[in-house]
Structures are given as C-alpha cells and as structure tokens.
C-alpha cells in the first residue's frame, strides 16, 4: 500500500498571539509553529495502516518554520520518506497551499498514484478552504472527511471508512482507491517517539527538498484579510469567589432563584 500524508505547520497557540503592525496578520517575532494536530492523527493512521497492510508512508509538507522538526519526527515514527516543498514563503493560505501541494505531488515522478492520501480533517488556520476536499478535487480523486476509522481490502482496492455525523452517529462508506481522506481521529492516539530516535533520524535520514513547479498556484491568490483582531469578549462570566464551600452556597442561591433547586 502506498500512503501519502499531507502535513501542515500552524501557529502554536500556547504562545500569546500578537498582531502584526498592519493589523492584517499575526506578528511573527515570537510566533512558533507546530504541526497541525489532526495531521498528526493522519500520520498515525497512515502508520497503523502500514503496520497492518504493509507498504510505504510518504510525508509531504510545505516549507514553514519548524517544519524540519515535524518531518524528522515523522520519519522517526516510521514514515519512509519526507518531502518538503520549498520555494514559498510559508504564508500561503489553505487554498493556495492545497493547490501547491496537489501540483507538486503530481509533478514528482513515481509518487502518484498512491492508494491513499491522508491529511487532517481541519486545521486552526483554515480560513479559505479545507485541505482534503481541495486536494481531492485537484487530483480528481474521491474524498471523505471527518474520518475516524479506515480498513482496506487491498485486493479489491476498496477502503471501508467511518465518517462522523452529529449526535455520535457514524456513517460507514466504501471508497474506491485511490482516495483522499480527511482524518478526524486515528484509531489510536498518535504514538510517542523518544527524542533519541528523532535525533538519530536527523543524523541518518534526510528530508528531500522539492521545488514546486512554476505557476503551481494556478493563479489562486491568498484571500486578502482586511483586518485581524482579537475576539471581542462581549460577555464574560460573573466569577464567584471564596472557598469551595462558600462558592457552593452562592451557587445554590443562584440555582434556587431559578427554580432549579
């Protein structure tokens, strides 16, 4: 089985996010980037599928700060190959990014066709699109998002997939491979790989740099942001103070006043 995982770096919200001087983007001075959480799940799902059905996992990412760490970590976890698409300033939006990914992947000899292309169902910086549906459209492949379980019939070339719906309902689908899946959760939590293994990967393995073909954006421009602001907190809870017992009493008063007690 041949699996490709699309990985994206997103702003790390552990840091306080500050706005740039022009008020249209994030200030990058103290900004740190981290791999999109759901892309980690996609990678985990890919590795689990590789363990089950044997095959290869190739991780592809657009160049961005701290992407090397993420790619080496992926290699240490068991990915076979890591590709970094350079020649970009790392500030492409989701839509332009998806175009660049799709065009570049198509241009690498031998990479396509793959059986599965996995990526996270969403990311915190998805302003102008979602990667999985966009890439699937460009590569003319079927797509399903919010996927939580994948099993494959390798001889028939068909995957059985669970997709989440509201109310805890899940839909079971049969998808002909090759296909693109937006992963919501891997079947097991993303594995831990010790620092020693990542460092070893940094020494013994290499990330392949790939230059995107020209006009890879297909003329798609970044959706212009007029203004970025911190959300206005119009409401904030009334905070109750005191010891747990005092708080409990206050709360009981409130509930009683509303006829809930």
């Amino acid at each position: 089985m041949k699996i490709i995982v699309l990985l994206k770096m997103v702003p790390d919200v552990v840091e306080e996010l500050e706005l740039a001087a022009d008020g249209k983007a994030l200030d990058t001075e103290f900004l740190r980037m981290i791999a999109n959480e759901l892309d980690n799940h996609a990678l985990e799902e890919a590795l689990l599928l590789k363990e089950k059905y044997s095959g290869t996992v190739t991780v592809v990412a657009l160049d961005a700060p701290e992407v090397d760490d993420a790619l080496f970590t992926a290699l240490a976890k068991g990915a076979d190959q890591a590709l970094k698409i350079t020649d970009g300033d790392g500030t492409l939006g989701t839509r332009a990014g998806a175009y660049r990914l799709a065009q570049t992947i198509s241009s690498i000899p031998g990479l396509l066709p793959a059986d599965l292309i996995l990526t996270g169902a969403q990311a915190i910086d998805d302003l102008d699109g979602l990667t999985a549906p966009l890439v699937s459209h460009l590569l003319r492949l079927p797509q399903l998002g919010i996927v939580t379980k994948v099993s494959v019939d390798t001889t028939a070339g068909v995957a059985t997939v669970l997709r989440e719906f509201p109310g805890g309902v899940r839909g079971e689908y049969e998808v002909k491979l090759p296909a693109v899946l937006g992963i919501q959760a891997a079947e097991k939590p993303p594995r831990y790989v010790p620092v020693a293994k990542v460092r070893a990967a940094m020494k013994s393995q290499a990330i392949q740099s790939v230059v995107a073909p020209t006009a890879a954006d297909g003329g798609v421009c970044l959706l212009p942001v007029e203004e970025m602001t911190k959300p206005e907190v119009t409401e904030h809870a009334q905070m109750l103070q005191g010891s747990p017992e005092e708080i409990a009493d206050q709360l009981c008063e409130i509930l009683a006043a509303r006829g809930l007690l």
Binding site: V14, E16, Y192, P194, V195, A196
Partner: protein, 657 residues
C-alpha cells in the same frame, strides 16, 4: 575413644569412600549450578566495578561481617548476626570435618576434639538455635509485611536447624560416651545429662554420635547442592554483591536504550536477583508499595532472579511470556518514585532503581508511554517545561515583586538562582518563590536569574527513562550556564540540585558545585547577614526531601536554619535517611493515578506529621513537596490541623521587622 567415621566400614566400604562419593556428587551439582549462573551473567552487558578496592573491602567488612544494615531492625538484626557468625563457625568446622573425613591418613584431629574449638562451636551453636527460634517465631507468628513464608524459606530453616541440632546432639552423645573436659564443652555436657536421664546408656552413645555426624555432613552436603537454586544463594552471592556495590548509589546507569531481555541488562543488575534474600526490607521502605500501588521492589528483583535461574536451567523464562510486559507489567515500573529508600535499606546492596530505569528506558524507546506522560515529554521538548506553558512566561512570577531581579544572562552576579519549573510556573508556589526573592534581597545577596533561558534540568526526565530528552535539556542548559556570568549557583529544587551536582559535568568551571537554597540560608544566618528579628513561637516538623537528603546527604543546613529562627523542631519517626517520599519524584507528577492504590504517600506523610503533638507546620524545602503535601492535607481532611510552610516563608516572617 570415639569411633572414627572415616574409617568405619559401611556396606562393605570404609566411611571415607562414601564420603568421597557424596562430596563428589554435592560439589559437582553445586559447582555446575554456580558455573551456569556465571555463564548467564557473562551473557549480560559488562559493567566495571573493580575501582576503589579499599573502599569496597571496607563495605564488605562493615556490611557482611558487621551486618550493619540488618541492625536497622534491631531484634532480627541481632538474631541474624548470631546466625551469621554461627554459620561461619559451622562452615569452618564443616570443611575441617570434611577434610579429615576424606583423608583419614591426615593426622589432624576432628574439630570436636580440639577443646577451644568445641567450646566456640557449641556456644555459637546454642546461641544460633535460640536466634533461629527467634527468627522462626518472627517469620511465622509475627510475619512482617512482605516476608513470604515460602517453602524455600521453610526448607532452609529446617536444614539450618538440623545442621545445628545434629552437631549439638553429637556433642551431647560425645560427652556421654567420653567424659572429660566438660568445662570446654558446656552444651555437650548439658545435653549428655539430658540424654542420660532419657535413658540413653553410655554404650549406645558412640553409635548415636556417629549417626549425628553423618546426618550433619550429609545435610550440609545436600544444602550445598540445594543452595544455588534457592534464596539462600544469598549466602554465596551477598559478599560479592556488597563488594561490587555501586559506590555512588544515586548514579544513573550508563546511557542505553533500555533493557527488557536478559542480555540487555548488566551483570550487576542481574546479580541483584541472585543476591536477594527476599527479606522484604525494600518493600517495607517503599512509599508506593505502602499505598497499594502495583510496585513491589522485592517482586521485581525476584522476577529478575527467576529470569536468571530460568536461563541457568536452560528453560524459557515465564513460559514464553515477555519479561517486560507480561512478567513485569509496565504499571509496576511506572509506580516507582525513585526515592531510593529501598536501596538505602537493602542489606545486600541490590540496585532496584537502575533496574527500574533500564526498563523504563525500554518502554519509552518503544513508545509505550501513557498519554499524560507523553504530553509532559512533548511539552518539555518544545517549551522546556512540563506545564505546557510558553517559555516566555517563565519569569512572570517576578511581576509580583517591587523590584526586578538581575538578569544573569546580561550582567554578572555573585549567585545564580536556578529556580526549577515548579517554582516558576505552579500557581501555588509563586508567592513562595517571591518570598525567597525578597529574603535574599534583604540579606543583600547579589543574585540573578536566567529569566526565559531557564529550562527543566532533566532530573526527573532521566528517571522516567527519556534519556534522549535529558541529553537535549542538559545540552541546552549547559550552554546557557556557560554563557551566563556568575560565581556560584544555587537552586530551590532538590531535583535540580541532584542532577546539577551529579550529572552535569563541569557545570561551574570547576568551582564549588551547586548549593541548595537552605544551604545558602544557613550560611547567611550563621554569618549574621540574616537575623531573626524575633524568635518564631511555633512547633514544627521538617520533611527531608529525597533528592536533598537521602541522595545527597544534606540534612543539617535546613535544621540549622530552623534553629536560627527559634522554632521548636520535632522530628517525625521517619526522618533523615528514613524520610518518607512525598510520592512526586520519578516523574510521578506526570502520571495518571492507576486507581489501584488505596492512598497516596503524601497522605501517609501528612498523617505522620499530624500525629506529632502540637505541631503546627510541616516545613518543606522542595517545591514539589509543598504542592503534594498541600493537596494531601485537603484529601485527608487535615487542613485545619496542619499547614505546609516552605522553610523560607518562615525565614521571611522571622526576619521581617
């Protein structure tokens, strides 16, 4: 004249012939088994333990001949000392008897014939029997925790009893058969009188003497053959395990990927299994075990022994189950707080913690890590702290001060204060940290901090098996410290203290190694640079942090500070070396509770503190202790009775005008 067992005929052959046969069989089995053990150990990883021979001999003298650690439990300690020495005496006379028995042509007397030898042997024998009775009563009627009443132990007790009693009975029959020199053979004479009154006539005595001689010899020969596969292998192994003990007990095993199979452990780690006498002292000391966690230090040493024995007997250990995973479960290993109370107590100097670390390293390298611990690792790797907070927030605590501590990255300072992540990030500790900042300023100590450049020192990371992350942290911290400008280094956190002092080579360019803040405070009070404006009228007790006390021997400076403050100090029963761990070390603060425990070590400790009459404060000198005990006061409902205070909060109170 007494008959000579060696020359008397039995089944048509002289005695010595049979003796040779039995000796040959016994020694063959014994030797073969010992050799197999040695071969198994030779398969394991090497480890060099031949350094400081003088020191090592000293250890053997104190701990094997002197049985020092056993005397921690005085009654059984004394009994065991007697049993040990009577055993030594009997072993000597056994070989003497054997030599004489095998070579009758040798014109040496039997040991029984030499009167001062007979005296010593009989005296020790009698004492030995009494000691044995004490031990048996303790084992069967007042069974201590973790002492298993196994068949092995029962067999050993019986064999030793037979050895002693047969010899003493023999002395009795000898005295009955050939009177004379009763004063040199008091027990013999005593027993002779008893036998006489029981109707034994002197003419039967020589025969009975022969019986007891043979019973004695055969029992010992049989014991010898049985020895290498029983827990009494510790007789043979313990002098070696003490000789090859780790001279730096807190030292971590050399960098490795961990161990789960026999060949991956070092020979000394495996030897712990063979040297173990299954006395249970480690279990009785272990805070996790005391609270019902799945960890039993004795159990997994036992499992290591089984691993070695199985290999010696050329059978698959654990019936094909994985050693680490099935035989030793991961939760058993994760429950260790690395407090080292077990190693402190072990009479044969076994190394429980290195075994735990090696197995944890293996679990980590396989990614078999529970989610919360995984999160801690990821946070430590990315942000240099386990709280998952931005490294830029490390110095937010300073905002509550009305001054700005010096930045040691930018200007030279006399003292660099390395806080440790708990003191910087944990909300309950920020005021305590500020209190120390103010106190030191009042004493006009020239100190500075590293602000955002400080990272977790890695002590607990190492102890939880993430060696690679430890190296990464150590690398970064060493670089930061080398670029900073300071003369001396002190820290709030005993865990930082331990790793800086013992595991960061050339930290301070060869100058005085890291100090703990209590050492600094003690010096300040001693020099009068800090003075208590008033004596604090409190009755307090003090908890010795594991990594400050047991690991690094720092017991007195905190007590000196308390003395300078004028408080009345009452020691808890488990203090100094015997201090009882708060349960937060070894990465335990990063782990989920398994739910198997019925209580927490911190709860046991606060109850111990509260049991001291009139004690108002439980004084701590470690940020983790502060948090663990404060929580424990809540969960035990002791909040009204006792308060947790950092030693420096009291110092500030006393010093403030």
């Amino acid at each position: 004249m007494l008959p000579d067992p060696a020359t008397l005929p039995y089944f048509g052959m002289p005695g010595y012939f049979h003796l040779w046969l039995l000796t040959f069989i016994s020694f063959f089995v014994f030797g073969g088994r010992v050799l197999r053990h040695v071969r198994v150990l030779a398969q394991a990883r090497p480890e060099r333990r031949w350094d400081h021979i003088g020191k090592r001999i000293g250890l053997v003298v104190t701990n094997v001949l002197g049985q020092r650690r056993l005397l921690d439990e005085p009654l059984i300690g004394a009994a065991h000392l007697v049993i040990f020495w009577s055993f030594v005496a009997y072993a000597t006379t056994f070989f003497w008897n054997l030599l004489r028995g095998l070579i009758p042509a040798l014109t040496i007397p039997y040991p029984d014939d030499v009167r001062w030898v007979a005296f010593c042997v009989q005296a020790l024998g009698a004492l030995g029997v009494i000691a044995l009775a004490v031990a048996a009563v303790r084992r069967y009627l007042f069974t201590p925790v973790s002492l298993e009443r196994s068949w092995d132990a029962a067999i050993i007790l019986c064999l030793i009893a037979i050895v002693l009693l047969s010899s003493l009975a023999g002395a009795g029959f000898r005295a009955l058969a050939a009177t004379g020199e009763e004063s040199w053979r008091p027990v013999g004479s005593f027993l002779a009188a008893i036998f006489g009154s029981l109707g034994v006539i002197p003419s039967q005595a020589p025969n009975l003497y022969l019986w007891t001689w043979w019973i004695h010899m055969v029992t010992v020969l049989g014991f010898l053959a049985y020895l290498p596969y029983s827990k009494h292998l510790h007789l043979l192994a313990s002098p070696f395990s003490v000789f090859f003990a780790s001279l730096e007990p807190s030292k971590m095993p050399a960098a490795s990927e961990g161990a789960s199979r026999l060949e991956e452990f070092t020979w000394r780690e495996l030897f712990s299994g063979l040297a173990c006498a299954e006395c249970g002292r480690c279990d009785r000391a272990c805070p996790s075990f005391a609270c019902g966690e799945p960890l039993s230090p004795k159990q997994f040493i036992h499992r290591v022994k089984e691993l070695v024995l199985a290999s010696s007997e050329s059978r698959a250990a654990g019936n094909g189950k994985k050693f680490l995973g099935d035989v030793v479960r991961p939760e058993d290993i994760w429950a260790c707080t690395t407090c080292a109370a077990c190693m402190e107590r072990c009479p044969v100097f076994n190394e429980h913690i290195p075994l735990v670390i090696e197995m944890r390293r293996k679990l980590v390298s396989e990614g078999d890590v529970q989610p919360r611990l995984q999160e801690a690792f990821t946070n430590l790797t990315r942000y240099g702290n386990s709280f998952g907070q931005s490294e830029r927030k490390r110095a937010v605590w300073t905002q509550g001060l009305d001054f700005r501590p010096k930045d040691a990255r930018k200007e030279p300072v006399q003292w660099l204060w390395y806080l440790g992540e708990y003191a910087c990030y944990h909300p309950a500790l920020l005021e305590v940290t500020r209190s120390l900042a103010r106190t030191l300023r009042r004493a006009e100590v020239d100190y500075g901090i590293l602000y955002e450049a400080e990272r977790n020192s890695g002590n607990d990371v190492r102890r939880v098996g993430e060696e690679g992350l430890f190296e990464l942290l150590r690398q970064k911290n060493t670089a930061t410290l080398q670029q900073a400008h300071f003369n001396n280094l002190f820290t709030t956190d005993p865990h930082v203290y331990n790793t800086f002092r013992n595991e960061y080579p050339d930290l301070n360019h060869g100058r005085h190694p890291v100090s703990h803040y209590t050492e600094l405070l003690a010096t300040l009070f001693e020099r009068g640079e800090l003075r208590a404006a008033r004596k604090l009228p409190y009755r307090v007790t003090y908890h010795d942090p594991c990594y400050l006390g047991r690991y690094n021997g720092v017991y007195d400076p905190p007590r000196a500070v308390l003395k300078a403050l004028g408080v009345e100090l009452r020691e808890m029963p488990r203090s100094r070396r015997q201090s009882f761990c708060c349960g937060g070390g070894g990465g335990r603060v990063w782990m989920e509770e398994t739910g198997e425990a019925h209580s927490r070590p911190s709860e046991s400790r606060v109850r111990e503190a509260a049991s001291l009459e009139g004690v108002q404060y439980l004084v701590v000198a470690c940020p983790k202790d502060y948090v663990m005990f404060t929580d424990a006061l809540k969960t035990t409902g002791l909040e009204g009775k006792l308060l947790v205070k950092d030693i420096d909060e009291l110092a500030e109170e006393a010093v403030a005008a």
